[in-house]
Amino acid sequence: MSNLQVDENGRLRHFLSIEGLNRQILTDILDTAESFSGITDQHIKKVPLLRGRIIVNLFFESSTRTRTTFELAAKRLSADVLNININASATTKGETLLDTLRNLEAMHCDMFIVRHAESGSAHFIAQHAQPHIRVINAGDGRHSHPTQAMLDMLTIRRHKKDFSKLKVAIVGDILHSRVARSQIQALSILGTSEIRVVAPRTLLPAKVQSLGVHAYTDLKEGIRDADVIIMLRLQQERMQGALLPSSHEYFQLYGLTEEKLSCANKDVIIMHPGPINRGIEMDSQVADGPRSVVLQQVSNGIDVRMAVMSMAMGSINTAETTDPNAPNASKETR
């Protein structure tokens, strides 16, 4: 897998999963994202790094946030963006996916941003795409959502600086979550001291400890002394497969409230990949409270996606981030 993502010089080629990348590349992504954050504050929010490039948002699953921030990121890099939304049910056959790919290749596209319901689909597309094409995974099944994980890492780093002293708790539907998998991998590569997952056993994957996490079924125990709490979105359909009795009981046991938060570290930050189900994953007081960094996550998403796109296109190599002419490389938290 790692061979597919990284070229012979160790530089990012595709961004498919966190797994297989080393700490240096993850740190480069974060540093590059920091260097772009200045652009947002400029009057003209554009750099010409990807001018003349065609980037395709190829979404086989619906998405608002991810697709929009990818689009914004591409536009800030001056690329031309094509949004293609394909109803997944129309393309359950593999040939169709490959045919779609071939057709887009014929339109001389340079990069695919792919979201698809099948785990491994981004790898599949990267394996079969022509060599000049770059693929960025915007979420594949339950497998991976690496740009989401990196924007979360950027958010954590801006608030907490050093991963090696952190206790991070991820709460909710770990089983079905590509976000959780990517976060766990990124946190562990970046040297986080303790990673916990909190959920009833019906929402924990088999042998979850093999991911290098501690598993808790009790929320208060799971978030005790935590520095970062990441709440995951709960899909309503989980009630149907007898994974949970009701959203009411879920909120009683796993919903984040000010009262339960008192177990956590007093500097704790609360994160959520969105969209939030208020009153299910957390109550509004927490979501809109001072510890919530949910909206910062969204803005950080643009910087991280700009970083990943420009690095994968080879428009930025990591040496440039220390170049004095490069965009502001050492900008700290905003």
Partner: protein, 425 residues
């Protein structure tokens, strides 16, 4: 046609034979092993000096894709592949299109196999109509049309229907072939539920999907007394349950597909759909448990579970691909490798591919006894070779064993006294 196979190392586990002998064949039958019958004059002499001679192999599960799925393979193409691999009899599971739930389909398959003339096909009838698990098939008629037993491939959800199917099959002296899987626990899973499914986010199939089904069906057998055969086990725990049932005297047997004795979930890590199989590749201790089951005789037969595919069937993200391996041509090589790896002796290995499956099916082949049908496999057991996809005879080249090195290659295959395969020197 009279043939003599001279000077080969004859391994015939049914007779505990393992020595240099000549084999004499007349009119499709073995007439003598050892001394020439009076007045025997061979039309053809095969020199097997330095080679191993064993009964033709019997594969308990191979799909030749005909009728209905000829874009994947045909009886002609797969018969040639089987013959080249020393296989003289295959059992064809009922999931053809149309399904083998009428005598006409069963007969058609045997007729086509006869025309192809390189391998015998024994169809397995559908236990329930259209394999839907709702109504019984016409089992007696299917038996009369040549079906060797009844199987259902898909899980039968309703335990009461399974009970009646077993009762009805036993009324007509039929063995029931079961791929143990609990419908509900299988759900939409496509890989073993464990560390790899968790890492890759692929929907998992828990071990309990197999053991729950084995437990249910063993409980039914205990009450009904029907002969059942569990096909293609994948978990160590199921092997233990079957060992206990056999110890208690239940009429139960089991097989495993050769790839399950070599591959594990760890082989999935690069998402290569060539490893997408059903039942799924499980973990190392399951693989070891299956090997132990074979060594101890709990699992009596090794099959190929051959499923040739056209390339497009594997060109999609992992779970969207069709499961299965093109496996005829690796059945014997992998089994011989188990001998190299000291899982069992050569004679035991041959037994798993010949007399044991013959006994499970209740057919009189799988041996070189005088009077038996002359199905024979001759192999150069020292020959080292490498599997190359493009050299495979099967129409499907979906094998995870491409570039594997094997020791032992088939040089001749005889089906009912006719040479149906001969390796070019």
């Amino acid at each position: 046609m009279r043939i003599v196979i001279r000077n080969g190392h004859v391994i015939d586990p049914a007779n505990n034979t393992s020595e240099i002998r000549d084999i004499y064949i007349t009119k499709g039958h073995i007439v003598s092993t050892g001394n020439a019958p009076d007045g025997f004059k061979a039309n053809r002499e095969i020199d097997a000096t330095g080679k191993t001679v064993c009964p033709g192999l019997i594969d308990l599960c191979a799909r030749f894709r005909e009728p209905g799925l000829e874009h994947k393979a045909t009886i002609v193409s797969e018969s040639a592949a089987a013959a080249s691999a020393g296989i003289t009899t295959v059992v064809c599971p009922p999931d053809t299109d149309p399904i083998i739930d009428t005598p006409a389909v069963a007969k058609l398959i045997q007729e086509r196999a006869g025309q192809a003339g390189q391998t015998r096909i024994l169809p397995l009838g559908a236990l329930t109509r259209n394999l839907e698990g709702e109504q019984l098939s016409e089992m007696a008629a299917l038996r009369d049309a040549g079906c060797i037993g009844m199987g259902n491939i898909h899980a039968i959800k309703d335990t009461k229907i399974m009970r009646h199917a077993m009762e009805y099959a036993s009324s007509h002296g039929l063995t029931v072939f079961i791929r143990p899987m609990d419908y509900w626990l299988y759900d939409n899973g496509c890989v073993h539920e464990g560390t790899v499914s968790t890492r890759l986010g692929l929907p998992g199939i828990p071990e309990a999907a197999e053991t729950t089904a084995v437990a249910r069906d063993l409980a039914l057998v205990e009450q009904i007394g029907v002969r059942i055969h569990f096909s293609q086990l994948s978990s160590a725990r199921a092997v233990q349950m079957i060992a206990r049932a056999k110890h208690d005297g239940l009429p139960v047997s089991a097989d495993v597909s050769a790839h399950q004795l070599f591959l594990t979930e760890m082989d999935l890590l690069d998402f290569d759909p060539v490893h997408h199989v059903q039942p799924p590749l499980r973990n190392q201790s399951d693989r070891d448990g299956l090997r132990k089951g074979v060594a101890k005789g709990t699992i009596r037969a090794i099959c190929s579970d051959h499923q040739p595919h056209e390339p497009d069937a594997k060109l999609a993200p992992f779970c969207a691909t069709e499961p299965g391996i093109s496996a005829l041509e690796t059945l014997l090589p992998l089994t011989l490798r188990l001998v190299e790896e000291k899982v069992f002796t050569l004679s035991e290995a041959i037994a798993c591919l010949t007399i044991e499956p013959a006994r499970i099916l209740g057919v009189d082949s799988g041996t070189l006894s005088p009077g038996a049908t002359a199905d024979v496999c001759i192999l150069d057991s020292e020959k080292i070779w490498q599997l190359q996809k493009h050299n495979m005879l099967s129409r499907g080249t979906n094998t995870p064993f491409n570039h594997w090195e094997f020791k032992g290659k088939v040089t001749h295959t005889l089906l009912a006294g006719r040479v149906v395969f001969e390796l070019e020197p």
